[in-house]
Symmetry: C2
């Protein structure tokens, strides 16, 4: 079980998880989606958070479960109606970073999209948000220059730099905060690069962050 | 400002708001929607909660803002994988009730439905969840036999009994809890009856609950 106070605080302090969709061009293409003209986002419930050591992701019956590796931001200070596209202004609102996997019931989501129904069920199952421990702003100085990777059973599936984001983090926080106030402890997922795919029960996902080619130990995750 | 501890606790203890869609037949018809074969639901962020006395609902620019009066449940005890359709089994998981208005940016939602995008923006703006103070289980003994009403500028717009729900509360909690664990303080909105419509800035919404024809004072709300 997750027992370190720094880990349990991630879930305890989180009141909403806001996820940016379609934020990497090659991922938009691979799912045959339209490239958005502005950032859009959806919510995952805090109850979907899976902390390191809490066990496997649980695949609901009949679900085609996809992984989406994403850089996560933990909000450090309340922010509302943020008016900026400037990188230097956002750091004050970020407490720390996380590596995260936006697990998705892809068949449920596809059905919802077809019917015009909400995505909350497809995105919101218990255990559908594995996260790493916190990575400090000292370690991760530039969130737009980090390599994310995810392997399944040792095979690399996703591996791209956050510099490929279509909408950068200031724009994301600005757009979100014009709709809903971001509160201390809220988590923002910044979108997934190409390479998403299915995992079965028993598969092992290993993922991490690299900065200048160097692995960041705090962000390493291994999830069954 | 909302200052009573019982009121501020509603927001402080809430980590997710789960809303049932299309749960009254005549409301399904009025929006030209399909009647669902099973309950579906979406999330509103806790940041959208507007407590009594906190001021008006804020209409974002360019938004056609609709009211939806709903009976809300405040969860009293964690529940996961609930297997019941039995009324008598659910009371142990309910702490109390609320009257609530599921404010909706209808044009934003219609656009999202057309494009297969999530509903979170349309449903999640700050102030888009006015709630009343808590109503105890002693006062509200049978949640399936309550009359909800909402007036705009004195004119009755919605007025129906919760006995008209397509899926009753045990089924709602059962279906939700098979996807996401319900936690103490979470709020469930049980769907809106017919009569939803637009409100403009400055309009006054008055709403309440009646049991056996008698107004429940705790649930009376007046929102601009
Ligand atoms: Mg994602
Ligand atoms: Mg939420
Ligand atoms: Mg509603």
């Amino acid at each position: 079980m997750a027992s370190s106070p720094a880990l349990t605080a991630i879930r305890r302090n989180c009141r909403k998880v806001i996820c940016i969709g379609r934020n990497y061009a090659d991922h938009v293409k691979e799912l045959n989606n339209q490239r958005p003209k502005q950032p859009f986002f959806f919510l995952k419930p805090p109850s979907s958070i899976l902390l390191p050591g809490e066990g496997p992701v649980l695949r609901p019956n009949g679900v085609n479960m996809h992984f989406e590796i994403e850089l996560g931001l933990v909000i450090g200070k309340q922010v509302k109606d943020l008016q900026t596209e400037d990188d230097s202004e956002i750091l004050q609102y970020i407490d720390s970073y996380l590596l995260s996997i936006d697990m998705t019931a892809r068949n449920v989501q596809n059905e919802a999209k077809k019917k015009g129904l909400p995505w909350s069920i497809a995105k919101g199952f218990d255990t559908f948000l594995p996260v790493s421990g916190p990575v400090s702003k000292e370690v991760l100085a530039d969130p737009h220059n980090v390599e994310l990777y995810l392997k399944v059973n040792g095979e690399v599936k996703q591996e791209d730099s956050t510099e490929l984001m279509l909408f950068r983090i200031p724009r994301q926080l600005s757009d979100i905060s014009k709709v809903m106030t971001l509160e201390k402890g809220d988590i923002v997922l910044t979108g997934t690069p190409k390479g998403v795919g299915t995992v079965q029960t028993g598969d092992v996902m290993e993922c991490g962050l690299r900065i200048g080619g160097k692995e960041v130990e705090e962000a390493k995750m291994r999830v069954e």
